[in-house]
Symmetry: C2
Subunit: 110 residues, 2 copies
């Protein structure tokens, strides 16, 4: 397997999310799992790459077919509540970038 | 600190790199460090976010001011040799995507 999912031909969109946690992560794992599940079911969702550091830092890239899909998910009521709780409790800081993938290369030994 | 580095106003560019290692990582750490050092010194380099998983998987996002900077670094002789060795020895697979960052948001508790 080259990557976690098969990319379409560009252009498509990537949302790059970097988060740093607070010391209060009560409820975070459950919400994170719920958002991943709900997010994957949204129209235009293509796949994701993510890693979590030992310090709790997350680096996540979520891929979408188009910008409208990103806007729709951003405004989803349950996601809005998760975003509010994130700012209130779980995130010390975050950075979110919306980017248009223009070229893609891959390599696989197989 | 909100993120690893201060982003400029969009648009700017992100190169999203996902790699999976082979079992032969001899020389990889030294080369990786050399490439990071050399890469940071290139014109147009803005900063990076990266994490390595327990399985050796890397997720790296490197930011640049423009596409010309990305093309110049891709064609740098020492980097070309590193790319060749990567395909020959160190990478089971990789995915590289060049994306134009169009919007950015950030949040910090401080």
């Amino acid at each position: 397997m080259t990557t976690s999912f098969v990319r379409p031909e560009p252009p498509y969109y990537a949302v790059i999310i970097t988060t740093r946690p607070t010391a209060d992560l009560e409820g975070y794992a459950a919400m994170s799992e719920r958002m991943a599940e709900l997010g994957e079911a949204q129209p235009g969702y293509l796949g994701r790459e993510s890693l979590t550091g030992e310090d709790g830092r997350d680096l996540v890239v979520i891929y979408y077919a188009d910008e409208a899909s990103i806007a729709a998910w951003k405004a989803h009521p349950e996601h809005l509540e998760a975003q509010r709780l994130g700012r209130e409790r779980w995130y010390a800081s975050y950075s979110i970038e919306v980017a248009r993938v223009e070229r893609a290369y891959s390599f696989s030994r197989d």
